[in-house]
Symmetry: C2
Subunit: 774 residues, 2 copies
């Protein structure tokens, strides 16, 4: 009888529930009411090419995919990716009378009551057909199990055309290969962001015999068809002997060819044991998630943490085949290339689709390079492959070509951080060449967002000449986000990171050259307003000045937010502002002013328009100002970092419902990773790009966090961050012990972590004004 009280009083709330495996703590429905096309995830593996789940909305890139609040499933789609979609299929039952109407409009109501979702698995009951459908996946194969009802004929509809997520599906086709197999393709039409066609191939095998295939095209049904190619068609594959039995099917996917899809299928899943693949997927997720073990916190806090971590290792997805073949679309013609193969006969790395690393300096750089160094290394190699093919280290490649999404050379800090942390499994000479090219005219800093055909909108030439990117840049607009002040700030920071690499590689001239460029941000500091402001090509400040005006010179932000974007030279920035104390007061006031809207400029679960025109002093809904809570560490007031970073965690990254999550776009792991880092209490202001990079300490949410280090990269076994006497109120660090020695600084070094050890923080309810000052 006393147990509840004991629980309440004596023990950590952690013990309110049996200790659970990290994979079991993931809550896949987080933010699912606000999904964009590729946000959701269930039947897939980490970075898997296949990201299979039911769509409730297939129209458009935003507000599509699995939208929790909608009640109709339109199909199970295998590719949900940055600018890519494909292979949407749906089991149906029908009679002769209903066949046509079912094929025309196959959507089925469903209820969340009859749905089970976990990493690697999705089960749902299709009410209209009384079909229980289960989905799982390997990296490149979607594995389906359908329990059909006793009544009606059973079949599976394959969409070969129409529109799907971001793409018009221009055309498609299929052929029946055997009594049990079909294969085919569909072509993602060009989008403004991905201007080249991108075909997706599939190869499907059933465990029940195909009875016949019906084509639906142009309003007409054609029975007993064996192959077809055309526009806007769909087929119904009718199965024999399916009633009241489980029907299994496996669909291999490839971007190279139908043969590639078939090979992926047979290489990855050679058997029919559905449950084994569910288990495998779960084990793989759990393995990666278990690299970080947390103790303490409430059940919900633990669930949210592992959900955030789960988000950080997906989104960006494999596009190469299991045998290492991939499609290179960087040139005029599509070319199939082969990745280098190791002694084991397997490709040494995969090729990836990826939204830009815009904001990765404060997120993925820290998490991947430390906890998943093999992933960081793989992405470096993948990006170098693009460089070899197309001549540029990319900024958000999709389907084998760059989309040039966002601005700047956002891959530079990622590479530099990897190198500085001792990740060596990529060609650094080639990398430096490519990165350097990106920072010069003709490189990616010449390109604005989605600027595919010209090298103008990035303005790096003017930046080199004048020391800033003017706003407006020219009369003409070449791409998106041609916001000179924002670009200048990014370039200056990225120049600094490249300078660090130049230094590490003993390229003294380059080091000095890029270091000098890295001070360019100062050219846009207006001493009159004391904000960073856009300046036109004649050197005139943009008038009238409005610190809260969104865009208009700032890339998805405003002056209030972007003025803090000099992470590589905070002392310099503070000096411009009039000293550390003025900087502290300004930023603290901005936090106070942002508290009412919970530090975000949108909250989809509330009224999306409520913060009108995104006029906010800070914004944790997006990347441009996500470092701000950690700036106080550098103004000499680390307790303000501790206070506000915890406040942001509480207010922004605490919800656990389909209606809340990231208060904007999660952006393929960026916001999830930010949440993970803030909850661990570590951060890297410079993106971890200096020699033996610093980690700065915030205010951990949990009693303890243990990072299991990857032995192939780091000598230590584990690093443990302990926050003693931690609580919502006890968010202030009183003292710290790093690897058994007192630590008085707010930061420590990469080598302090990777040799293994611990950071023990003593937390209290009051700021210790003497701790953490350098």
């Amino acid at each position: 009888m006393r147990k509840y009280l004991l629980i309440l009083i004596t023990l950590s709330p952690f013990y309110l529930y049996a200790q659970q495996r990290p994979a079991d703590l993931v809550y896949p429905l987080l933010d699912a009411a606000n999904s964009r096309w590729f946000y959701f995830s269930s039947a897939c593996r980490p970075f898997g090419m296949v990201n299979l789940f039911p769509d409730t909305n297939i129209g458009g890139e935003w507000d599509s995919g699995y939208r929790y609040a909608q009640d109709t499933i339109l199909g199970f789609t295998h590719i949900h990716e940055w600018q890519l979609a494909g292979v949407s299929i749906m089991p149906v039952t029908f009679t002769d009378a209903s066949l046509k109407s079912v094929v025309q409009n196959k959507g089925s109501h469903f209820s969340h009551k009859h749905e089970t979702i976990k990493p690697g698995y999705h089960a749902v009951l299709l009410d209209r057909y009384s079909i229980r459908a289960e989905l799982t996946a390997s990296d490149r194969v979607g594995f389906h199990r359908y329990q059909f009802p006793t009544a009606g004929s059973a079949g599976v509809v394959f969409e070969l055309g129409n529109h799907l997520g971001p793409s018009d599906i221009l055309r498609g086709g299929f052929r029946q290969i055997s009594d049990y197999e079909i294969q085919g393709y569909m072509v993602n039409g060009p989008t403004m962001r991905r201007p080249k066609e991108c075909p997706v191939y599939f190869s499907t095998i059933f465990d029940k015999k195909i009875k016949s295939i019906v084509l639906y095209h142009d309003g007409i049904l054609t029975h007993d068809i064996k192959q077809w190619d055309g526009t806007n068609g769909k087929i119904l594959v009718i199965l024999e002997d399916a009633a009241n039995k489980p029907v299994l099917l496996k669909t291999g996917i490839s971007f190279t060819s139908e043969a590639g899809a078939a090979r992926n299928r047979t290489l990855e899943i050679s058997h029919w044991d559905f449950d084994a693949i569910v288990k495998q997927a779960d084990a793989r997720w759990n393995e990666l998630l278990s690299r970080i073990i947390i103790e303490g916190g409430t059940l919900q806090q633990q669930q949210r943490f592992y959900t955030d971590l789960w988000r950080s290792i997906q989104g960006r997805r494999i596009i190469s085949d299991a045998d290492g073949k991939y499609t290179d679309l960087t040139g005029k013609e599509k070319v199939i290339r082969q990745l280098p193969v190791g002694k084991d006969g397997k490709p040494q790395f995969n090729m990836y689709n990826s939204d830009a690393f815009w904001g990765a300096q404060w997120t993925l750089n820290t998490l991947w390079q430390l906890v998943y160094p093999e992933i960081a290394q793989e992405f470096c190699n993948s990006f170098l492959e693009y460089y070899k093919n197309g001549g540029l280290i990319p900024r958000g490649p999709s389907g084998g070509n760059d989309t040039f999404v966002m601005t700047g050379a956002s891959s530079t800090p990622f590479f530099v951080s990897a190198w500085q942390k001792g990740i060596r499994g990529f060609d650094i000479k080639l990398a430096y060449e490519g990165l350097r090219k990106n920072h010069m005219p003709g490189g990616i800093m010449s390109k604005s967002g989605y600027e595919h055909n010209t090298m103008m909108g990035g303005g790096v030439q003017v930046y080199i000449e004048k020391g800033y990117v003017p706003y407006p840049l020219t009369q003409k607009q070449y791409g998106q986000h041609e916001d000179g002040a924002g670009m200048t700030l990014e370039y200056a920071y990225q120049d600094w990171t490249l300078a660090q690499l130049a230094k590490a590689l003993h390229k003294e001239n380059d080091y000095h050259y890029f270091l000098k460029r890295s001070t360019n941000y100062k050219n846009l500091y207006n001493p009159a307003s004391r904000f960073i402001q856009p300046k036109d090509s004649l050197g005139k400040w943009k008038e009238p000045f409005d610190p809260l005006l969104y865009d208009n010179g700032y890339v998805e932000g405003n002056a209030a937010q972007f003025t803090w974007f000099a992470p590589h030279d905070l002392p310099g920035l503070f000096q411009l502002m009039g000293g550390n104390d003025t900087a502290t007061a300004r930023l603290n006031k901005q936090f106070e002013l942002s508290a009412w809207h919970r530090f975000c400029n949108e909250h989809p679960e509330e009224n999306p328009k409520f913060v009108s025109n995104k006029r906010t002093w800070l914004n944790y809904s997006n990347q441009p100002s996500m470092q701000v809570a950690y700036i106080f560490n550098y103004t000499g007031k680390p307790w303000l970092t501790q206070y506000w970073s915890r406040e942001v965690v509480n207010q922004v990254f605490s919800g656990l419902s389909p209606y809340t999550g990231y208060s904007g776009e999660e952006d393929q792991g960026l916001m999830g990773t930010l949440s993970v880092l803030m909850k661990m209490g570590i951060f890297q202001m410079t993106g971890g790009c200096e020699e033996d990079p610093y980690y700065e300490i915030g205010s951990p949410l949990f009693d303890a966090v243990t990072i299991q280090l990857n032995p192939a990269f780091y000598p230590g076994k584990a690093f443990r961050i302990e926050a003693q006497h931690n609580s919502s109120m006890n968010r202030y660090i009183q003292s710290a012990i790093l690897n058994n020695k007192p630590l008085s600084s707010f930061r420590f070094r990469h080598t302090d972590i990777v040799k293994g050890g611990s950071l023990i923080l003593n937390m209290g309810d009051a700021p210790n004004h003497n701790w953490g000052i350098e």
Copy 2:
């Protein structure tokens, strides 16, 4: 150019906007997406009988009235009240061809873009008819101005039947009185809560001639009708000369008679100056809201504060006529009675409808008695009138009779608090008699929720015999909320408040009798579990025990929440628990565990079902545990009160959107008032029922709050609470000065306030463990 920075750095954020009048800061759309029937308010006065606004849903008591997310206006309804509805009208345009379909289904789409809402005023464009409609009100009259388009005939539909909000409208009728006037009635059918019929009368005058009236009944239109009585009818009043001109109409409302409605109309608005009434309504709201003047905080914080305050002075509404006539429904027959009239010929007070004062001890008791003593006094007089008529001081009267909503003698603390604060304008002898009766068999403590016909479910007889109300009480259920543990806790606290009044009135025997009863809560403290638990009539604890199980012995709460319900004897409670430190640790842990769901057991803007079965350790969505943040003051840890009360304000009472607000039901000013008090930083644990009552200090949200005292009641002019160096982080009190003398206690006395003066708090970012200890 420097102004933005100056704003940001030097000045309070208050100056980011011109100082606004309190009435202009009210945001009427708060929580409007989650409205229940009587929640919303626009065209009405404080406590006004008329609460006129457009309905978007008329079906049911919950989820009805003005629901922000719905797009169709179904009518402008004058009565939105606790268990009452009535007089729904709608301007329409029509042609001969469309007349019937318009009358049948008159709903019109509208858009929030073409809508203006402020205290006392509502304007909206009816898209279907292109009619711009404006609404305002005096206490008992709805005043409408419609701008009709040029095309079509113009008319106004009156609903005389059907269903409206909580009520079936049993029957209705009208008669045309003159070329410009009609009057009529409709009868609210009985509900489970209000079992007697309650008619509502109206008297409408137009400023345009009535051309003819069409009746719609039973699917048939009858033209040129002058009067009618029946079931489920509606009429269309067709107006002459209305096209493209403003049409005005005034509708007087009464619960006594059509003549009463006409009299209310002519007494309150004798002219046709619509704008003047809008101004008057606004001035009245502003006058009451200006009793509290705040400084500092963000614009949103100020808006939310005045919105909360605005909620605190409405909801409960006048039911008596302007001349003092009212309907007494306490007996078998309806009787029209007359309120006492003063020398000015006006009634000395009004009669009120009111949800129960269940929870008022921690909300209205403090706010009204201090800031609006004239309102507190009026409610005392109104409740005594019910006592004179029906023999019981009521618990949630509606339409002239008691509903017996909720449990206990919740009016007792309200009366006692008024008396102890020096409010003398009611008959204390009569009041004591009525209150005492309520605490004995045959009084309201004999009745459970909505127990209209028996005196069993309240269990006070058993409570007196055994020292607790058993759960279950008997085999039979007599009403709602027969939750013995919750009732015992309430009764014990209410007994203590009655004992205080007995003491003040020198009734020594009663004092000791009720004081002894007030320790009854201890009888349900189970030393084994250390929680308050339900016990059956044989003295056996209910098994199995589950501290989070909702209801089942607790009234809208659970053991975790209700165990803290001994506000009158916290030292006694702490002693049972094992001392102050154990109590502190337990409650602090409950707060920590409640942080993830933001201290509420529902969040309508998210997934309402997310906190499953309301299993929460604390709950700020409802009344039973709303005192908890202030308990730490009494455990000797006032800084925990400061921390958690601010945390609750931040997380629960900060939103300002139609989708957020009170995370549950606002309950006619209860939750709004709690928010006001917490933001002012004052609270009364005992409901202010001891002699010269205490106010305890929390952590004010604003830099300063000034209460303008009512000179008819209190000698001082104003009392000012200043929080110097206040900020989100600086939520801890370092030191305090009360009326120019250092204050080391966490509390002070009523006389310290009402003589006028100030409380100056010096705030800081760390707890001062030496301040506030007694």
